[in-house]
């Protein structure tokens, strides 16, 4: 499922966070993009097509990696540091 593969930094301290409702672990120094995409394969859906997106430029230019936080904020995953307890959603919630 993961898109990114960790080749280094595997032994750094654990940062707990929530991804799509599931308790997960990132590593100290992770961006949101790294923490999320080492566990899953998308960050958001295209605004019009609904097709999956996982970022592109990784340097804050393309704006294709904005991920939804549970509190309603949108965070640019590639330039935002993972903080303990972040609650992130990469998939739209099912409507009841």
């Amino acid at each position: 499922m993961a898109l990114l593969k960790r080749l280094a930094r595997r032994d750094l301290p654990v940062i707990p966070f929530i991804l799509d409702g599931v308790a997960c672990e990132g590593r100290a120094g992770d961006t949101i993009m790294t923490a999320a995409l080492t566990l899953t394969d998308q960050l958001r859906r295209g605004d019009f097509s609904g097709t999956p997106r996982a970022g592109f430029c990784q340097m804050g230019a393309c704006q294709d990696c904005w991920v939804l936080a549970a509190d309603g904020r949108r965070l640019r995953a590639c330039t935002t540091r993972l903080e303990p307890g972040m609650d992130l959603r990469t998939r739209p919630e099912k409507r009841s």
Binding site: L4, G29, P52, F56, Q63
Partner: protein
């Protein structure tokens, strides 16, 4: 006595750091604003926390330069106001709007040095929005700053020195590189021989990267035309053409780039005059050998007004800093000025050789099917640009934007501007320069709606 100067430097990469240093050394306290949490820019991007890797592991042959630059910026905060994680999102006259820590700080400056750098130059192809396709620069950032490969089995596609460097860095770091697909013909590489006299180290290192990839069994192929990415939820394969024959390789990630493009939005907002660079097929702000633009007291250093690389950025940053001093009536050492300008000119000549070895691909956008996504943000297809040119008579890029929303999305044309101009020019039968350039609009990047306005004299 030092005159009351308040220079604003945008970007803390090699150019911005050297500009800040030279001003600080002259007793002037510039404001250095950078989006990243730590200085170094993209090329010398620092990790958020230290890990088991050495500077040599991260920056390879450039480790010494990277370390020197990081040490410089680490020592600057006593003498420079340094705002990391801050975005200059608007320039008007001698005032900048800067978003920092949830507040907008409207800030006056006497001089402006733009060191905004570059991002990958990209063109669309079928499936390029699929998860697992990343820019080449992004693939390198993932490895350097995050210790991650963009996938388990990675293909590198495109052109430019970065193609071979990143593929080699991935191989060295233990990633599986499935192929290097160079969009330029092998014959173009003969141009590199002309660069041997100017920068033998750079040329030989590049050749070594390619040779080591081949020696480790990585297919390195030339004259590649991408056809499509396979996979819906994520990349499963790439299909390309080589001399008319279709080929395919399974992979789960693609690092893609065709050289770099300058980040010019702020120069546009500052009112700088642009010129069309026929070699780079792009508009860029005019600047003289010292970095002065057409606007008084506005300077550009580094890749933000034409791509020349990190070494040139360090030289250009220092030169622009000296130009600020000069224009404020503090004449710099003429021999140092001469030295910087001569070295920069030599790097610029070398840059032309690299461009001929890694040329912009011919006719790429002409071959795209109408349904290929051109604008990633607004999800607008190539066919819509062609339709606008064909049925609505659009011949100018900002008109195209107004009618189709191409370039109007969150990236503000950073990812699609190059291809939108190429498609429009081909469709309306005008030259690339005649279709114009996308005008920059503030905010140059998305801002949070709850950004609190704050009047602060910095």
């Amino acid at each position: 006595m030092t005159p009351l100067l308040r220079p604003l430097i945008v970007g803390a990469g090699p150019a911005g750091i050297r500009a800040a240093e030279v001003l600080a050394n002259a007793g002037i306290r510039p404001l250095l604003v950078d989006e990243a949490p730590l200085g170094g820019g993209q090329i010398y991007r620092q990790r958020l926390v230290a890990d088991e890797r050495s500077p040599r592991d991260l920056y390879g042959s450039e480790a010494r330069k990277a370390t020197a630059l990081h040490e410089t910026i680490a020592a600057l905060p006593d003498r420079v106001d340094y705002w990391p994680q801050a975005l200059v999102w608007n320039i008007g006259g001698n005032v900048a709007d800067i978003a920092v820590a949830g507040h907008n700080r409207r800030t006056d400056f006497t001089h402006l040095i733009l060191a905004t750098g570059a991002t990958d130059r990209v063109l669309p192809f079928a499936g390029w929005t699929t998860p697992g396709v990343f820019s080449l620069g992004g693939a390198q950032v993932a490895l350097k700053s995050q210790g991650c490969a963009i996938g388990e089995r990675v293909v590198f596609l495109g052109s430019g020195p970065l193609l071979y460097l990143v593929a080699w860095q991935y191989m060295k770091a233990g990633a599986k590189v499935e192929a290097v697909l160079d969009t330029a013909p092998l014959s173009a590489k003969l141009n590199l021989l002309r660069g041997l006299a100017l920068q033998p180290g750079v040329i030989l290192r590049g050749m070594r990267y390619a040779a080591e990839l081949v020696a480790r069994g990585v297919p390195v192929l030339y004259g590649v035309e991408p056809v499509r990415v396979e996979g819906d939820a994520r990349v499963t394969a790439i299909v390309w053409q080589e001399r008319g024959v279709e080929k395919r390789i399974a992979c789960d990630a693609i690092g893609f780039g065709l050289g770099l493009r300058s980040e010019t939005q702020l120069a546009d907002l500052a009112g700088c005059r642009f010129l069309f660079d026929t070699r780079d097929r792009a508009w860029r702000p005019e600047r003289d050998a010292a970095g002065r633009t057409s606007v008084a007291r506005v300077y550009i250093a580094g890749d933000g007004a034409g791509i020349a690389g990190a070494d040139a950025a360090e030289l250009g940053g220092e030169r622009a800093g000296l130009a600020v001093l000069e224009d404020a009536g503090l004449p710099p050492d003429p021999s140092r000025v001469r030295d910087l300008e001569q070295k920069s000119a030599a790097l610029e000549r070398f840059r032309s050789i690299l461009e001929s070895a890694f040329p912009f691909p011919d006719g790429w956008t002409d071959k795209l099917a109408d349904d290929v996504v051109l604008c990633r943000c607004e999800e607008i297809a190539v066919g819509e640009a062609r339709l606008a040119a064909g049925t609505m008579g659009v011949v100018e890029i900002n008109r195209l934007k107004a009618l189709t929303r191409i370039g109007m999305g969150r990236c503000q044309g950073r990812m699609c501007g190059t291809s939108a101009a190429e498609v429009l020019a081909a469709s309306c039968g005008r030259s690339l320069d005649a279709v114009g350039r996308l005008r920059a609009q503030a905010p140059v990047k998305p801002l949070p709606l709850d950004l609190a306005a704050e009047e602060v004299a910095a």
